[in-house]
Symmetry: C2
Subunit: 246 residues, 2 copies
C-alpha cells in the first residue's frame, strides 16, 4: 500500500478546525478525506501532524494517507486542486516511506501568531491577523516569553482537561519581531497542548499592555491553574507554519 505525504495550506476562517468530529462535518480533515475518498474509490483517512482549532490557519500542515490507487503524484495534486474549495490548497504531494506517520514522527512544530498593533485596522489584512489597538511593549513581551521557553508543565496554559495525559511540553524558542505596526510571534516546540499558543499569546499581550508583570509569568506557570493565565487570544492570527521530521 502506498503512503502519500501531503503538505496543505488552509484558510481556517470557515471551518470548525482540522479534526473531523462526525461524518462529513465542516472540518478541514473531513473536506480533504471526502475528496481523496472520491478520487480513489477507497475510504481514506488522513493523518495530520496535529489539530488546529476552529478559525486557525495553516501555511504548511503535514499529513499522510494510505491508498492502493495507482494515480501519479501530479494527478493526485491536480485532482485535489480541482475539487477542494478555494480556501484549502495542497502545496505538495510526495511518496512517503512506509513508516512515515505525520503525527508520531513530528519532532518540531512551528506556529506564527500575527498581531496588527495600531489604533486603526488594515482593510486588506483583517482576517489573518489580530488587531490590538493599544501600544504593546515588545521588550516586556520578549522577557516574559523567555520565562516560558524550555521544558515545563503547561497546565496553566491549556484548556485540555485530561488528568491522565502529561501536560509537559518543551518550547524550543519564542521569537517576537516587530516591523512597523506588524508583530509576529514565532513559536517552536515539540508539541503544543489544546489552546496553548493562544493562551500564551493572550498572556503576553497582557504583559505588553502592562497588566501582568514579567516576573508573574513564572508564578503563573507554577500555579498549574488555567485561571492564573491571560485570556485565550483569537484564532484568526494563528498559523501552523511548518513541521519538522527526523
Amino acid at each position: 500500500m502506498r503512503n502519500i505525504r501531503l503538505v496543505i495550506q488552509y484558510d481556517g476562517t470557515r471551518y470548525k478546525g482540522w479534526q473531523r468530529l462526525g461524518d462529513n462535518d465542516h472540518t478541514i480533515q473531513a473536506k480533504i478525506e471526502s475528496v481523496l475518498s472520491k478520487m480513489t474509490g477507497e475510504t481514506i483517512e488522513i493523518i495530520g501532524s496535529g489539530r488546529t482549532d476552529a478559525g486557525v490557519h495553516a501555511l504548511g500542515q503535514v499529513t499522510n494517507f494510505r491508498t492502493n490507487s495507482s494515480m501519479s503524484i501530479q494527478e493526485i495534486q491536480d485532482y485535489c486542486y480541482r475539487y477542494l474549495p478555494e480556501d484549502i490548497v495542497i502545496k505538495s504531494v510526495k511518496e512517503a516511506g512506509d513508516k512515515f506517520h505525520a503525527r508520531y514522527n513530528a519532532t518540531r512544530k512551528k506556529y506564527i501568531y500575527k498581531i496588527w498593533n495600531h489604533l486603526y485596522h488594515d482593510p486588506f489584512n483583517r482576517k489573518y491577523i489580530t488587531h490590538i489597538t493599544e501600544p504593546l511593549n515588545i521588550d516586556l513581551m520578549k522577557e516574559a516569553a523567555d520565562a516560558l521557553v524550555g521544558l515545563h508543565d503547561f497546565t496553566s496554559f491549556t484548556t485540555a482537561k485530561s488528568k491522565k495525559k502529561s501536560m509537559v511540553r518543551e518550547i524550543y524558542a519564542i521569537d517576537i519581531m516587530k516591523n512597523g505596526n506588524n508583530i509576529e510571534m514565532l513559536f517552536q516546540g515539540n508539541g503544543f497542548l489544546h489552546n496553548m499558543i493562544r493562551i500564551i499569546v493572550g498572556t503576553l499581550i497582557e504583559v505588553g499592555l502592562g497588566r501582568i508583570e514579567v516576573k508573574e509569568v513564572k508564578a503563573i506557570l507554577h500555579k498549574k491553574d488555567r485561571k492564573a493565565a491571560g485570556a485565550t487570544a483569537p484564532p484568526q492570527g494563528l498559523f501552523l507554519y511548518d513541521v519538522d521530521y527526523k
Copy 2:
C-alpha cells in the same frame, strides 16, 4: 469654510467603484459622504483624486471636502473610523489650503497591479491579486511596457468613448518586478483613462504569454482602436497607491 484633506484606504471588492452614481448607492464616495454628512449635519460632497472602477482597491486615495464644522482633526478621524464599514479606513486627516482640489491639483498618480503567477492559487491572497496559471515572460513584458511609456494617444487602451475629450496621457514609468510567484507592476502617470491600466495589463499579459509580440505594441497604440489591444485585466489586482501634488 474649512477644506479638509482625507487619505483613504479601501478594499473595493464589495463596491461599484469610487464615483457616486445616484443617491446613497453602493459606491465608496456615497458611503463616505453619508458618514461625513451625518457627522457635520451638512450635505458633504467629497472630491477624489480620480475614480476607481468597481472592484478596484486603494491604498492611498486622496480626497478633499469643505465644511463649516468645528470638529478637530482627531474627532473627524475617530468618527469616520467608528461609522465607516470595515473595508474603508481613513488613513489621515489634515487641514488643506483653501485652494487644494484633490482632482485638479494632482500631478502624478501611482497604481500597482498585482499578479500571482503559479499553477495553484494562494488561499490567503485570493481577493487582492490576479491569478495567472501559465508562466509569464517578464523580460518581454518589460520591453512591451517601455513602448507605452511617454506621451501618447491611448485610445486603443481605454473604454472611454467621448469624442470631445483628449485621449492623450503621459505615462512617466511602468516598473515590473518579480519576487517568487508575485509580479507587481507599478504605473506612474499624469492621469489614466477609464480602464486604461487594466487594458495595458491585459495586453502585457498576452505579451508575457507569447500571444502578442513586443513589436506589435507600438502598432496597437497607433491604431487608436480598442479592439487592437488585449482583454481588460480583472479589477481585483489593481490598487490606487499614491497621488502626488504640487
